[in-house]
Amino acid sequence: MIGQLVQSLVDALSAGATLGLAALAIGLVFGVIRLANFAQAEIITASAYCLIFAWGLGWYIAIPLSILVAIAMSLLMEFAVFSRMRSANPATLLIASFGLSFLLQRVYELMFSNNVRTAPVASGLAQTVEFAGIRIQLLSVATIVIAGVLLLGLNWFLTRTSQGLQLKAAAADFRTARLVGIPAGRVIALSFALSGILAAAVAFVLTVQSGAVGPTFGVQITILALVGAVIGGIDKISGSLAGGFLVGFVTSLLATWLPQEMSNFKDAYVFVLVIGVLLFKPSGLLIKGRGVART
């Protein structure tokens, strides 16, 4: 029983870490330009395709390449689409990102067909190890480690470097940041690049988990990440991260501990939670008050 509890907690931490990273990627961009980028899903998908196709060349090529592809996709979206919509309101930007998402899914269909592509990406991590009678998937541990390293690195970047401080300031109050002299274009590009790196990490974890990638590969986690970001408070970088983690953690525990006939509806319970938060704390659980109006 204790073994099962620990195992489920490690799995939940891992799921929370993955979703936390995905939500953080969305929160970083939202903080700066008020874009809840649904097309983040297609950045994850592109990075995952890259892992699948390049894995045969060696992990030392596939992983850096998948990160580069994610950063490039993210920056391309910004320059080709969103930079042309600077004065649009958040709702318009969200709808534009939906459109871009569907468009890219069709492009992936045309390029790679509707069938999933497979490769044994880091298959060693799919094994389980057993100690003290507790069986734990290596991937769960690896996911927690990857998320930890990325978060520590990001925290260092945001608090210790000038560029990071500028990004943090822009995410808190973009208009004032510009009035202080922080270059808007550079800080926006930086937020997209960082969200690309986070997307690549998510793509890696999911690709190792499933070993198969299709055109809508990144959609499910991006929906949940958006939900998580809203629950935690998309207005704050830490809110998005915590919200994403919470959704992943709770969903994983529900999947393990709910009876079979109920666990099929685990996502529905999460959305009930969302409705509750939107009704009683619309600014997000981690935001004080009802959030700050932004112009």
């Binding site: 500028q166 109050d173 009035l179 002299g181």
Partner: protein
């Protein structure tokens, strides 16, 4: 005092300082500022007063390029038209926004560091920091404190200090006394006096008419987006002049 002097001192394009010519700002087609002209020389403080909705803040935001505008804004004789705010800052103009808008979650020191992002002269960073900390000693004491935890007066000092970190020649302030205690207002305006004496051009938007007129070398009264009156310090105590300034 000169009623109806719409152009401030009119035709001057100063080598050092700010010269605004026919500045107009509109929101969704509704005019907020209707072609005003004014100038602020180096070492001079100029006030902009008027009732709510007169266009005072819009004037400052228009100068900064933070909102769409027409007309010319000359900084040391060079037009900054079409430049975004971050580039206007690099030309030597800094704005202390209404409501202070310090980065509440960042430390006082980090707020000041961010103010220096647009410095044209990176070498002078330490000197500028020392200057700001001497001008506002409280910021030295609270360097590691979260900016959001400071009092209103302390936040205003931080906002001015942050603006000074970019080494501006022209300092714009939007209602620096708003919500402050009389003591805090005195601290802020004493600092502005030092800043003016250091040769910077200061343009201050204020609600406290009497106080502003007395402090500034010249004060323009803005009404419905137009300059309707120019006042001198000696007009500060003339009740009829102030009444006319606000109620026409």
């Amino acid at each position: 005092m000169s009623i109806g002097d719409k152009a401030g001192s009119g035709d001057g394009e100063y080598e050092r300082g700010l010269c605004v010519q026919q500045l107009a700002v509109a929101y969704s087609g509704v005019p907020a500022v209707r072609g005003i002209s004014l100038d602020v020389k180096a070492g001079e403080a100029v006030g902009l007063i008027g009732p709510n909705g007169a266009g005072k803040s819009s004037t400052l935001l228009g100068i900064m390029g933070a909102i769409a505008r027409t007309g010319r804004v000359l900084v040391h004789g060079q037009d900054v038209a079409g430049l975004p705010p971050e580039k206007v800052v690099r030309r030597g103009v800094a704005l202390v926004p209404e409501g202070r808008h310090v980065f509440a979650e960042l430390s006082v020191a980090d707020n000041l560091r961010l103010g220096a992002v647009a410095r044209r002269d990176r070498a002078g960073y330490s000197e500028a920091m020392e200057h700001v900390l001497t001008l506002f000693p409280i910021l030295r004491d609270f360097g590691h404190r979260q900016a959001g935890l400071l009092s209103g007066g302390q936040q205003q000092q931080l906002a001015i200090g942050r603006a000074l970190m970019s080494d501006p020649d022209i300092l714009l302030l939007d209602e620096p006394s708003l919500g402050l205690s009389p003591t805090a207002v005195d601290t802020v305006f004493e600092a502005l006096d030092v800043i003016r004496a250091a040769g910077k051009a200061v343009l201050v938007v204020e609600q406290r008419a009497e106080f502003t007129i007395a402090f500034c070398d010249r004060t323009f009264v803005l009404h419905d987006g137009e300059i309707t009156l120019t006042l001198k310090p000696e007009d500060a105590e003339k009740v009829d002049v102030l009444t006319k300034a606000y109620f026409g």
